[in-house]
């Protein structure tokens, strides 16, 4: 089994996340795309850990998970706060800060 295929899969997933991040206008979907990109990076780390015989990659993936969980909690709290006043999750609506 050629382990480079895992890296290619991670690259594809990362690109899908980038596409979702750039095309969708819903704040929740943008957050999910970021999660997908983080997961793709995690897959790369775990693959290299396996390929190089070094557990440090798995530790890094673990810390990425912890930080991602914290990031999601804060981000969703902000989305809820904005949605409570604007009644929408669209990121285009948040330009009211400019006015």
């Amino acid at each position: 089994m050629n382990e480079n295929y895992y890296l290619v899969l991670a690259a594809i997933l990362f690109a899908i996340g980038v596409a979702g991040f750039l095309t969708r206008r819903n704040a929740l979907l943008i957050f999910m795309s970021i999660e997908l990109m983080l997961n793709a990076a995690n897959l790369t780390l775990v693959t290299f850990a396996d390929a190089l015989g070094d557990l440090t990659g798995q530790i890094m993936a673990f810390f990425v998970m912890v930080v991602a969980a914290a990031e999601v909690v804060v981000g969703l709290a902000i989305i809820i706060t904005i949605a409570r006043s604007l009644h929408t999750a669209s990121i285009d609506a948040s330009s009211w800060l400019r006015r």
């Binding site: 089994m1 382990e3 480079n4 295929y5 895992y6 890296l7 290619v8 899969l9 690259a11 594809i12 997933l13 990362f14 690109a15 899908i16 980038v18 596409a19 979702g20 750039l22 095309t23 969708r24 206008r25 819903n26 929740l28 979907l29 999910m32 795309s33 999660e35 997908l36 997961n39 995690n42 897959l43 775990v46 693959t47 850990a49 396996d50 390929a51 015989g53 557990l55 440090t56 798995q58 530790i59 673990f62 810390f63 998970m65 912890v66 930080v67 969980a69 914290a70 999601v72 909690v73 804060v74 969703l76 709290a77 989305i79 809820i80 706060t81 949605a83 929408t88 999750a89 669209s90």
Partner: protein
């Protein structure tokens, strides 16, 4: 033995990878946010399976618990709070953004894919030896986390606690009006009874003394009529509430008629209470109406 392990890993990969790519496209392309979230949850499960197949069982479990268990449920919870049916706006706010975004994504996938295609050279392996030396993957990871990376682990725990506090502070909304508690509610009811003669007691529940305890049957007053306010207004507005009076009175009346007949047999002379109108024709008329409605449908 080695060959079999490798082929099992390959099978896992070739089963999971297409599923993950399809679910990823589903996440980006789905109109509704809920469908996107479910696609992402499935993708994360498949990713966890891949972790398990490449010597990372601890991360497999962590992935299931942290990502599909908490993060995705947090997403669904947020969706419920701000409205599940918030479909994405399809209007482009920046001209040509979508096309350029797709071009960028495809270019990035090509670039990354070709870059990493030969990144790993040589035979894989060695990690299972490390795992087995420590007595398992979880033990090996734990030795590193609580050994070399203990400080980073503590910092991560501080980060997570701070994030929990931040979520509470950010999503907290101050009450604009004082909350009405039991004492205030009782006082208000008595005041309204004094001023507007509104009932002090709560509204009767649907189905009290009625022939059926379904939510569509109103509570009955002593004279057999429907108690106002005992059926939810939405059911009344939809026409689902059973408010036809003769139908409501029918069970009590038939019981009454039977008792009256028994009394007549016993006493030899009829008692009172026979002045209630016969409700049976009304009920059959109602049944006919229902049949007509069925036929109309």
């Amino acid at each position: 033995m080695i060959g079999m392990t490798v082929s099992l890993t390959a099978i896992t990969f070739w089963v999971c990878a297409p599923i993950m790519v399809v679910l990823g496209f589903g996440m980006v392309l789905a109109r509704k946010v809920v469908h996107s979230a479910l696609c992402l949850a499935g993708l994360m499960v498949a990713l966890g399976v891949l972790y398990a197949s490449i010597n990372a069982p601890f991360l497999f479990v962590a992935q299931l618990i942290v990502y599909t268990g908490s993060v995705m449920m947090l997403f669904l919870f947020t969706m419920m709070l701000i409205g599940v049916d918030t479909a994405d706006e399809l209007k482009e706010t920046i001209k040509g953004q979508r096309v350029s975004a797709i071009v960028i994504a495809v270019a990035l996938a090509g670039l990354l894919g070709f870059t990493v295609l030969h990144a790993i050279v040589g035979q894989s392996g060695g990690l299972s030896v490390i795992n087995n030396a420590a007595g398992g993957n979880a033990q090996a990871v734990a030795q590193l986390i609580f050994g070399r990376y203990a400080v980073a682990f503590e910092a991560a725990s501080a980060l997570v606690i701070t994030a929990a506090l931040a979520a509470m502070v950010l999503s907290h909304a101050e009450r604009l009006t004082p909350k009405e508690r039991q004492r205030e509610r009782a006082d208000r009811r008595v005041r309204q009874f004094a001023s507007d003669a509104l009932p002090v007691a709560p509204d009767p529940a649907p189905g009290v003394y009625a022939r059926h305890n379904a939510a569509t049957y109103p509570a009955l007053l002593p004279d057999g009529t429907a108690a106002p306010g005992s059926v939810a207004p939405a059911l009344e507005a939809r026409g689902q509430a059973v408010l036809a009076e003769p139908a409501l009175k029918l069970p009590a009346q038939s019981l009454h008629n039977r008792l009256a007949a028994q009394a007549t047999e016993l006493d030899g002379q009829p008692r009172l209470m026979a002045d209630l109108p016969d409700a049976a024709p009304a009920l059959t008329a109602k049944a006919d109406d229902a049949e007509d409605q069925e036929a109309a449908k």
